[in-house]
Each structure stands twice: as structure tokens, then as C-alpha cells.
């Protein structure tokens, strides 16, 4: 059992950090597994105003911290990029110690760190080993998924779903907001002119997937796998 536990047996450790992923042969099921997006992508429309893609099984960590200058330095070395301290901003790094990483501001003491699923435990471990002081880092990979939506009508679809102003002058590429989405919520990040990522909770994923299909109907929805 030693392979799964770093700290559980070390009773004096302040925090518990464990690998939560099984060996690669056990396939994970993303929150939209049941929707069989692969065959929707194959048999569904190939043209339309809104495009949809689930970035599934990603690694997502919630960092809570009011970082001191010292902590910020350590975090920068671990992430390969400085924490975005400006509200509603995000940063990405392609060559961080854990590969491609995106760091998104959530609140003055909260960030969301996104990377490939297999790297989450590595990052958790390096935080545990290197970052001192008060903070919390929580793995939320299983409770979260990412919808990538794009296309020439993507803003129209989003305007039906969220009260946030999405005009390019107010919502440039890189901006990130946590907000209301339909009758649920989402963290919305503009990753390109006509492309957004929605970070949503697992249990709401099916509702939001139905919602997006419905809201996109007048524009045509193309699903990618």
C-alpha cells in the first residue's frame, strides 16, 4: 500500500497528500461519459455556429493562500509561472515542471490550477514538500470537468447562459470569472477570441450539457471528441 500514501501513515504530518489515481489500465469515466460524445461527434452535425468539446479527466487543484512574497517565489518555481495576483486574470505556462499548466484567479486567496490529470499528484507532492506556511491545496479533479466551447455564435450561446458581459472590450482573452451559468455555476475563461473554457462541477455537468445543446440549437452545435 506504500505506493498510494505519502503521509497518511506519518501521523505527525500536517496534511494528507495521496495519489488518487489508479494504474493507467483502469479507465476513468468523465462526468459526461454517459453522453457518449465520441459517437455524437462522429454522427452529429459537422457544421454549426457553436462547437463543443469536453476536456475530460484533467487535473485540477484548488489553491487557497494569501501568499507572502516568499511563498509567491516558491509557488512560481513550482508552477513555472507566477500566480496571477490581479483579479479575474489567468496565466498559462507550456514548460512548467509539470508540463502545460493554466492558473486562474478565483478570489483574492484562491486559484485554480489546471494540468493533465496524471500530473496533479506530482504537483501536490512538490507543494507539500516545498511550500511552507499557511495554505491549502485540494485536488478537485474528480469533481470537475472542463467544457471547451467555441465558434462564431459562442458568445450568443453564452449570453443566454450567464449574466456576465462578454463583449471583447470587457472580457478579453485571458479573463476568467466565476459566475452564474444557467441555474448552476461555472468558471468561464476566454482562451481565444471565439473560444471559452467552462469549468463546471461534476454533478451539474449533465444539466449544463443539456442546456448548452438547447441554447445552441438555433445556431447548430458541433461536438468534437
Amino acid at each position: 500500500m506504500s505506493d498510494v500514501t505519502v503521509a497518511a501513515e506519518l501521523k505527525t504530518e500536517p496534511k494528507l497528500v495521496t495519489n488518487q489515481l489508479p494504474a493507467a489500465e483502469i479507465m476513468g469515466e468523465s462526468p459526461l461519459h454517459h453522453a457518449d460524445l465520441e459517437s455524437v461527434a462522429k454522427h452529429g452535425p459537422q457544421e454549426g455556429g457553436v462547437h463543443f468539446h469536453e476536456r475530460k479527466l484533467m487535473g485540477l487543484l484548488t489553491l487557497r493562500c494569501m501568499p507572502s512574497a516568499e511563498q509567491q517565489e516558491v509557488i512560481k518555481s513550482l508552477l513555472g509561472v507566477a500566480l496571477p495576483m490581479q483579479p479575474l486574470t489567468s496565466v498559462t505556462a507550456d514548460d512548467s515542471p509539470i508540463g502545460k499548466v493554466s492558473v486562474r484567479w478565483v478570489s483574492p486567496d484562491e486559484w485554480l490550477i489546471i494540468m493533465v490529470g496524471e500530473k496533479a499528484f506530482e504537483l501536490e507532492t512538490s507543494f507539500f514538500e516545498k511550500l511552507m506556511g499557511h495554505y491549502s491545496l485540494v485536488n478537485i479533479s474528480g469533481g470537475t470537468t472542463i467544457f471547451n466551447v467555441s465558434g462564431r455564435h459562442v458568445v450568443d450561446m453564452l449570453k443566454k447562459s450567464t449574466p456576465v458581459d462578454l463583449h471583447a472590450s470587457e472580457f478579453p482573452v485571458g479573463k476568467v470569472v466565476s459566475t452564474v451559468f444557467a441555474k448552476s455555476g461555472a468558471m468561464i475563461c476566454r482562451v481565444a477570441e471565439d473560444q471559452f473554457e467552462l469549468v463546471v462541477r461534476r454533478s451539474f455537468a449533465d444539466y449544463l450539457w443539456l442546456w448548452i445543446q438547447d441554447a445552441s440549437r438555433e445556431y447548430g452545435l458541433v461536438v468534437h471528441h
Binding site: L16, R64, I140, K160, D165, F204
Partner: protein, 1010 residues
């Protein structure tokens, strides 16, 4: 039935904005008619000479089209060619004509032309004075339903479809720098200026085309027909990326902080059903940095005898039908006016080649551009006179005209009768201030324009054009530009160049304040003089209300029902106030006005619901194993938004049979519950332990790593609101669980205390509810099952009750908690949710030899009730503290910090004798299951009302005990063990029960410790 379809007797050969090359066939009250593209339903009906469009509400009098816009009170239609596409309450003046449109009048039963109610109406009218509802129908109260159905049927306010609406309705959130309401001259001038300055602009207008009054007059701009300028502006605006133009769109509500709602008719203006995939109506929810109200004005009709006979119209509507739709709604016109402006109706009528019988002007000496134009055409003008009465039944046949005194309130000479089929009247213009009122602004009376203008506002709102009393086109254009300039400077944008078209110079002489024409008889005896057509409120009715002592205009409104119709009294309210003011011998500003509320015009339920209907009505939350439950045939229960498996019937099992099987299998071998919906909160920080001690009632200081503990959470009042197990993962790291329904509330609870009371505590909370899939295996064979899936030593010695361990289950890293909500040996397995289904299925693969049985929430409830475990929210209701629950063991009064709830539960009322306490209830007849909610009494023979001593909170059939089990509150119950309590039921039965310990099974708790 069939008519000559080409015959549109009132249609002009040329002119108007209709396309005569595109005839459209439509049906009204079962008959087919023809109109043209560009018509409204109202203009098409008038073109076809349809006089009667409804019957009045109270008196059942025939009514015709009065106006040409949103203010129309009579032509209220039911639209729809199929049952599913029925829309009630549509104003014919606002409904674009389309091929195949099916409309019917809604007032009039059984039909508008031959009305049985007419007879009743003539008699009933006498019986229906103002205050009619209050006076008559409230008594006896029991008869109200009878009265109501009679009134509704007779009033015919339209009906909802009986089938589901097949169309799609939608909502869209919009943001802009500037929202301009109204696309008349003021609105267009403002939009153009703002668009040129680069502002984000939304301009909305309720009409199918932009242009407003410019489309209805013969005015010129820059020497060309005004419509040409409109077309140029529309073209320029449509080329601006940041300008959103919304025709067919009513701005219906103006709410706080410049939030406005706009109902856009997307396809229902040209089709009965939206073409596939298209949106029928869209509600725009707009947040505007600035708003310009350029909503124009409504012309006021005058109040005179029989002013509701079809053929009586507002003057401006006559011009609109002629100029915009090429329809002259009659042959011989009498125009009655108190101002110059209305002369245009007579000029247009005359120029259309029909006869103007006379212009009757209440003023002694009118002069001005339009007056002169009338004289030039040789139209007879009777000055210092008034139309005091119209004659006719289903259509006007003539009028009585009399000379008036200077004040216009007495007849001072002989009556002249003239034949005519149309009476157009104008008492001046009322600015459309409705939206400004929505945010609470009190309208202000302006004597210069004889109307109310918008009052002081706290919104970022500007007004332009006729809404301010700037009635001329030149003034409206100028005000539109100025308002835009002001808005742009507030927004920090560059001011635009002043480029406005040149409007005609028109001289108008002063208008006279005239609302209600006198009659030779007193008002109460004169023929009915209608103020509010929709609610049949007359001048006599208002007089009566005032005489009966209603002096506030708000009371007069409610007593007479003036302005209570779907038109909100757009035409009649000012006249009504003027009449009340006169009777009360005060001025109009002293009398005041009633306030308009949202919505400006009726909004369909579809637009309000949007796409939040059907499957999308409310989010449905699913666990990672949901598909398995569905496949297994589970019945589901809603817990908050979660869909939880309720029970899993096999074959033809009844619910009770399934529950019995699930309960027995769990206690005899092993059952499994999907518990993923429980709230889970990751808590980290060196003060985590201290924080837990403050929010839970029990002690946390010494909980060792690897251990779990049950805790109760109370409010400051000392009352329990949630409970759950919290585990110590590491020295500064805990996992808290909450009830399924309480998860969000508990997280907010922790945050508010941390952020506002104890920010010095170093602790962070993160929801991990969705991250972990939780499956509870419970029963004597649960350990054997777990052993088949893990190498870890889960024996009693290595993993005791209330321990948790990290281990691998079915190849997946898991956190397993040895906690129990059933009283059995139990393991709660938590794995990362993407692997929940894998582990769940693996448990079933290995569980066959133990008859592993899935159970749902109902069996969970039964099993815990057998053990006397509470469910927060079912056995608590916000009025019980831990001691009431007999859970003093979960409260540590010795903790150094005064935990939340401690002080509250020590209040005088909380420590008194005889509080209701939770106890077990054993029915004397073991086969009887007490109904939950039943109220207990100590003496079933006591006279009614019997003193009630507490209710049943949980009650089930226990297959394991072969009897019923129940819990409930009983006054002083903990000291009454063995005593009897009785439950008299509504069906006459009285169930007798004995007060006992709530722990019905395994009172020593041996089963969970094995």
C-alpha cells in the same frame, strides 16, 4: 361564410407602407379576410370594414378599434391557428398580419355581433356600479367561485392553450452603454449620435418598423418624406457592430440600477409557429450604463356621451391608419378637438377623398398651420363647441354638437345633430411615462403640455422627445441629440457632431385643457361617458366614487377599477384623474396620478419562462454511478437537486416488498448505498481543529489522526441545523461531511464565521462533494466483501469502529471510513469520482456470493430509524436543541471557547421543563404504522381542540423487527418512558403508542463493533 376576399372597402388605392403586391389571407372570428404585408391585424380589420372587435366587460356594449398602438383598449385578440399555439391578450394594433393568421375576439360571448350578454348587460349595468365587486360579490363569500366563473366567462379575457406550446422561448443577457427606448425621431437621433461616437447601443421599438410617428404623418425631413430619413438612419445603424436594433420589441420593465427587460417578438409577428429551430420570442435582460427614454406620447380621447360606439376613435389613430396603412376607417368624419395638432386627422381624411363633416373645436379662436390648412380645404370648423354625444348602436350614425362655455364645462346653446360614421377626438397628448414610473419616480404635472412628465429619478436615465412634452418633430430630433450628447459625456465618450435633418416649421395655437365634455343632463343621467373602455369605468362612476368619499386617486382607482385592465389605463387614466380633480374641486397635480408598474404591456409566460422548462426547469444533479441505478431499475427521489436512488424494485415488487427485501438483506448479509451526495468539505490549516470546536457542539481538540467523530451543528439560537461525521486526515487536515441538502449551507456557514468573526484563524475550506464518490457497504458480510477487493488489513484489530484508512479498493486508491448509519458493520469507501463506477461495479462482481443488495434512501431511512439515528431536517425542524434530541452526549459544555449554539441552548425557554423531546414510539398494535406528522395527545377523550403534545417525525415498517418503528416529539417525553400517547387521525382512528427509547434494534450497539 365566404366573402369577396379582394374587397377591402376602406383600403385606399395607393399610399401607406403596405405592400399591395403581397396579399395575405387571415381569419377573424371564423371568417376569411384579406390584408397586405405591412398591415397590423387592426389595420386589416378596418380595411375590411370590421366595426366590432369585442364586447365590453361590464355592460357588454359593442366596441371597435380606438387606437393604433400599445394603448388600444378594445381590440384584445386571441391568436393562434391550433390549440397549442393559442396566445391570449394580443392587441390587434400590435400584431403584424401574416398569411394564415387566425384571430378571434376575446370579449363577447357567444359572439361579438349577437351577444346574449347584451340583454343581461342592459339590465346588469344598473346592477354593476363602481365598487361592484366589493359591494356585491364578496358576500356571501362562499358564492365567490360561482360569481367568478360567471364573470370570467362573460368578460372573456382570453384563454390559455390546453396543449403544450411547441415554440421555443429564450432569454438573453445584454449589456450596453446606452439603451434607447423608442425609435421615433428622438430615439433615432439619439441612436445615430451615440453610434457615431462608438458607443455600445441597443435601440428597441415595439413596432415592426423603426420610425415611430414619422411613419404615420405626411411630414417631411430635409424636404423629403420623413420615411426616407428613417431608412437612411436604419441603414447606417445596421452597419455598426456595436449597435443592436430590436424592432417588434417592447421594453416592458425598468428595474433597479438600469436593468430593463425587453420582450422581442422574433417569429410570432410573421408565423403562427416558429420555423424549426428558431426562437418565437426572446426576453432580453439588459443592463444599461445609461438609458434614454424616447417613448413618445399617447393621444387622449375626449370623454363624451356614448363615446364607445364603434367609429369613435383617437384622432391620431385615424391619421396613422390612413398614412401608414392606406386605410380610411369610415366615410364621414367629425373631428372633435381641443388643440391644433389633431386637425391633421381631418386633413388626412379629406386628402384621402372622404368627407369631413365638421371639425368641432372647443376653443373660441383657433389659428395655426393646420387650422389654416383646414380652412383652405373648405372644411367646416365649429369653434367654441363640443361633441357631447354620439349616436348609433353597432356603428356611429351621427353626433350631437353643442356650444360650450369658456371653461368647456357647460352647454350654453342649442344642440345640432349631424350624420357621421366616425368621430375622431383629441384632448391632447399624454407622455408615455410608464417606464420612468417603474423605478419609483413620481410623475410631475406640466401645465404647458397638459400632461404628466417623468419625475425625479435615481436611475442613470435621460428622456427625449414627446415624453418630455416636446411634441414637434423638430423638438424631438433636437432632444434626442442632446440626450445622446449628455449620455456620451457621462460615459466619457467624445461628443458627436450635431447633424440633424431639417423639419417643417409648424405653428400651433394654444391647446385648451379639456377632458370631459359636458352634457345637457347631469353626468349621472347623461348617456354613458366612458373613461376606461376596458373596465367600463364611466365619468358617472368616478363621480359616484368621489361622492362616496374616495378622495385619494389610488382609492378611486381601486374602487372603480379604472386602469386595472391589461391596458393599465393608457388612454383613460389622465381623463379619470381630471374628472376626479374637478369633482373634488382641486387641481390635477393636487389630485396626483397613479403609478404604472411593470409590465408595460402583457408578457407571455413563454417569454418569462424562457428555456427554463421541461428537462431544463431545474438542474438535476447526478452521482458517478447514476447510470447503474437507472439500469438496475431504481426509483429516484429528489433530495435538493440531487436524483438519489430511492429503492430498487425487482420484478413486480411493490415498494414495501422491495424495502423489506433491502432491509433484510443488509442486516443479514450486506447492502450497498450510493452516498456520494453527502456534502464533503476539505478543511486545512493549523487552526482547523479549533475551528471545528467552535462550530460543532462536541469536543475536537483530542481527535487523533485516523479517527472519525460524529458532530452536531447548531445555530446561535442553540437549535440543530446539520450533522455529520468529520475525520482527522492529518494533524491540520480534516474532512467534514454534511447532510446532502445542507452541504452548501454548511460551507457558507463556515465561511461567514471565518471571514467575519474569526479571520485570525488559519484555516481554509474547500468543497470536495463532487470529487469523491462514496459507497457504503453495510452488514455483517461487509468486511468479507471488502477483503476481496483490497490487500489492506481491515480486521477489527487493525481498523476499529470510527477509524479511517487509506487503501486500494479494486485497484483504485481509496479512503475508507469505518462509520455506520445502519448500526451494522459498515465501510464507507471514497474514491476519486471518475473511478466511482469502476469500484461500484467491482463490488458487485465480488459481492454476488454475499447477495450484495443495493438499497436506496428509503431503506437507509428505515435502517437508521431502527437504530434511533436522527436525520437533520426530518427529526429536527429548527426548534430543537441537542438535549431535546436526547443527544447530550454530543455536547461538550466544558470547551474553553463558547461554541456556536452554547449560549443559545441555555436560554430560559431552552432549559425549561416539559419541552418537546424526541422519543421512540412503539404502537400497541405492531402492525400499525403511524403517519408521519400525526399529532399526539395524552387524553384522546379531551374536548376539541385537544392539547397537542408533539408530532411523529419518522415512522416506518421494519421488516427486521416485524413491527412498526417510529420517532416523534412528546412534551417531557424523556421522562415519560412507558407511558401512553394517542394519535387521533383525520379518518377517525386513534392510534395508541407507548413512549420508548428510539433505539429499537441492538441497543448495546454490538453489531457495528464486530
Amino acid at each position: 361564410m365566404t366573402q369577396d376576399l379582394s374587397k377591402q372597402s376602406n383600403r385606399l388605392q395607393e399610399g401607406g407602407r403596405i405592400d399591395r403586391a403581397k396579399p395575405l389571407t387571415f381569419t377573424y372570428n371564423g371568417k376569411q379576410y384579406k390584408g397586405f404585408e405591412g398591415d397590423t391585424l387592426a389595420s386589416a380589420l378596418l380595411a375590411n370594414g370590421v366595426d366590432i372587435v369585442g364586447r365590453s366587460f361590464k355592460y357588454s356594449r359593442p366596441r371597435g378599434i380606438v387606437a393604433a398602438g400599445a394603448e388600444e383598449p378594445n381590440a384584445i385578440m386571441q391568436i393562434g391557428s391550433t390549440e397549442a399555439t393559442q396566445i391570449p391578450n394580443v392587441r390587434a394594433t400590435q400584431q403584424s398580419l401574416y398569411a394564415g393568421l387566425v384571430a378571434s375576439s376575446t370579449n363577447g360571448w357567444p359572439n361579438v355581433d349577437m351577444d346574449l350578454m347584451g340583454l343581461v348587460g342592459k339590465v346588469g349595468g344598473k346592477m354593476m356600479p363602481p365598487g361592484f365587486y366589493y359591494k356585491t360579490f364578496m358576500y356571501p363569500k362562499s358564492m365567490w367561485e360561482t360569481y367568478e366563473s360567471y364573470i370570467r366567462k362573460a368578460a372573456g379575457l382570453g384563454r390559455a392553450p390546453k396543449e403544450n406550446d411547441p415554440d421555443i422561448y429564450d432569454k438573453m443577457n445584454q449589456h450596453c452603454d446606452l439603451l434607447i427606448v423608442g425609435a421615433g425621431p428622438a430615439g433615432l437621433a439619439a441612436a445615430l449620435s451615440a453610434a457615431r461616437a462608438g458607443a455600445r447601443v441597443i435601440i428597441a421599438d415595439e413596432q415592426s418598423e423603426f420610425g415611430g410617428s414619422l411613419l404615420s404623418s405626411k411630414e417631411t425631413l430635409n424636404g423629403k418624406p420623413a420615411a426616407e430619413w428613417v431608412a437612411e438612419v436604419v441603414q447606417e445603424l445596421s452597419g455598426c457592430a456595436d449597435v443592436l436594433m430590436l424592432p417588434n420589441s417592447q421594453v416592458n420593465g425598468y428595474h433597479d440600477h438600469n436593468f430593463l427587460t425587453i420582450q422581442q417578438h422574433c417569429t410570432d409577428q410573421f408565423a403562427d409557429r416558429a420555423p424549426n429551430g428558431q426562437i418565437a420570442q426572446r426576453l432580453h435582460r439588459v443592463r444599461a450604463k445609461w438609458v434614454i427614454l424616447a417613448t413618445g406620447a399617447h393621444e387622449r380621447p375626449l370623454v363624451y356621451g356614448n363615446n364607445d360606439i364603434p367609429g369613435c376613435m383617437v384622432a391620431n389613430a385615424v391619421s396613422t391608419y390612413i398614412n401608414r396603412y392606406g386605410v380610411v376607417p369610415g366615410k364621414d368624419l367629425v373631428l372633435m378637438t381641443s388643440n391644433d395638432n389633431a386637425y391633421r386627422a381631418a386633413l388626412d381624411w379629406h386628402d384621402a377623398g372622404r368627407r369631413v363633416v365638421a371639425i368641432v373645436d372647443s376653443r373660441k379662436n383657433p389659428k395655426g398651420t393646420f387650422v389654416e390648412a383646414a380652412r383652405e380645404r373648405g372644411i367646416s370648423i365649429l369653434v367654441g363647441s363640443g361633441v357631447i354625444e354620439a349616436h348609433g348602436n353597432k356603428r356611429v350614425t351621427g353626433v350631437s354638437i353643442a356650444p360650450l362655455n369658456e371653461a368647456g364645462d357647460a352647454v350654453v346653446g342649442p344642440i345640432v345633430k349631424m350624420a357621421a360614421d366616425t368621430v375622431a377626438t383629441s384632448g391632447g397628448w399624454s407622455p408615455v411615462i410608464h417606464l420612468s414610473c417603474h423605478t419609483g419616480a413620481r410623475p410631475v404635472w406640466n401645465d404647458d403640455i397638459l400632461g404628466f412628465t417623468p419625475g425625479k429619478t435615481y436611475q442613470k436615465q435621460l428622456t427625449a422627445g414627446a415624453i418630455n412634452g416636446a411634441f414637434s418633430t423638430a423638438a424631438a430630433l433636437s432632444e434626442g441629440f442632446s440626450a445622446a450628447s449628455d449620455a456620451l459625456s457621462h460615459l466619457g465618450l467624445a461628443k458627436p457632431e450635431r447633424v440633424l435633418p431639417e423639419a417643417e416649421q409648424i405653428q400651433e395655437s394654444k391647446a385648451m385643457a379639456l377632458f370631459h365634455l359636458p352634457h345637457t343632463k347631469p353626468t349621472s343621467k347623461a348617456p354613458k361617458q366612458f373613461v376606461d373602455y376596458q373596465n367600463d369605468v364611466t365619468a358617472a362612476g368616478i363621480e359616484l366614487a368621489c361622492r362616496e368619499g374616495f378622495e385619494s386617486i389610488e382609492h378611486v382607482k381601486r374602487y372603480t377599477a379604472m386602469g386595472f385592465g391589461t391596458d393599465q389605463g393608457k388612454l383613460g387614466n389622465i381623463n379619470g384623474m381630471a374628472i376626479a380633480a374637478k369633482i373634488l374641486k382641486q387641481t390635477i397635480p393636487q389630485t396626483g396620478t397613479t403609478i404604472f408598474r411593470p409590465n408595460y404591456t402583457p408578457v407571455t409566460f413563454g417569454a418569462i419562462a424562457g428555456r427554463d422548462c421541461g428537462e431544463l426547469f431545474d438542474p438535476k444533479r447526478y452521482t458517478a454511478m447514476h447510470a447503474w441505478h437507472v439500469e438496475r431499475g431504481a426509483k429516484f427521489e429528489d433530495v435538493g437537486q440531487w436524483k438519489r436512488a430511492w429503492y430498487y424494485p425487482k420484478g413486480n415488487e411493490t415498494m414495501q416488498e422491495a424495502l423489506n427485501r433491502e432491509c433484510l438483506a443488509t442486516r443479514e448479509s450486506v447492502g450497498i448505498l450510493d452516498a456520494s451526495t453527502l456534502g464533503k468539505i476539505d478543511i486545512q490549516g493549523k487552526d482547523a481543529r479549533e475551528f471545528l470546536g467552535r462550530v460543532y457542539t462536541n469536543a475536537w481538540a483530542k481527535l487523533p489522526v485516523g479517527k472519525c467523530r460524529y458532530g452536531l451543528m447548531c445555530g446561535e439560537d442553540g437549535m440543530v441545523f446539520d450533522d455529520g461525521v468529520t475525520s482527522c486526515l492529518a494533524e491540520n487536515h480534516f474532512l467534514m461531511t454534511t447532510t446532502t441538502g445542507g452541504a452548501a449551507r454548511v460551507l457558507s456557514w463556515l465561511e461567514i464565521y471565518h471571514q467575519t468573526e474569526w479571520p485570525e484563524l488559519e484555516v481554509y475550506f474547500t468543497s470536495v462533494t463532487d470529487h469523491w464518490s462514496t459507497m457504503t457497504i453495510s452488514g455483517p458480510n461487509s468486511r468479507k466483501l471488502l477483503e476481496k477487493l483490497t490487500d489492506y488489513d481491515v480486521s477489527k484489530d487493525n481498523m476499529a469502529f470510527m477509524d479511517w484508512k487509506s487503501m486500494t479498493v479494486a485497484g483504485v486508491p481509496a479512503r475508507v471510513f469505518r462509520i455506520s448509519f445502519t448500526g451494522e458493520l459498515s465501510f464507507e469507501i471514497n474514491v476519486q469520482a471518475n473511478y466511482g463506477m469502476h469500484v461500484w461495479k467491482a463490488l458487485f462482481e465480488q459481492g454476488e456470493e454475499f447477495n450484495l443488495t443495493p438499497y436506496g434512501t428509503e431503506t437507509m431511512h428505515i435502517l437508521r430509524a431502527e437504530k434511533g439515528f436522527i436525520i437533520a431536517g426530518q427529526d429536527t425542524d429548527g426548534s430543537v436543541h441537542p438535549f431535546d434530541l436526547g443527544m447530550s452526549w454530543a455536547v461538550s459544555m466544558q470547551k474553553p471557547f463558547s461554541f456556536i449554539g452554547k449560549r443559545g441552548m441555555q436560554r430560559e425557554d431552552c432549559v425549561r421543563e416539559n419541552r418537546k423531546q424526541l422519543v421512540g414510539l412503539k404502537t400497541i398494535d405492531p402492525n400499525v404504522v403511524l403517519p408521519e406528522g400525526a399529532q399526539g395527545v395524552f387524553d384522546p377523550k379531551a374536548p376539541i381542540p385537544m392539547p397537542m403534545v408533539g408530532h411523529v417525525t419518522s415512522s416506518y415498517w421494519s421488516a427486521n423487527l416485524n413491527r412498526s418503528v417510529a420517532m416523534g416529539f412528546v412534551k417531557g417525553g424523556l421522562d415519560k418512558m412507558g407511558q401512553k400517547v394517542f394519535y387521533p387521525l383525520a379518518d377517525g382512528r386513534v392510534i395508541e403508542a407507548e413512549i420508548c427509547s428510539p433505539v429499537f434494534l441492538d441497543p448495546k450497539g454490538e453489531r457495528q463493533h464486530v
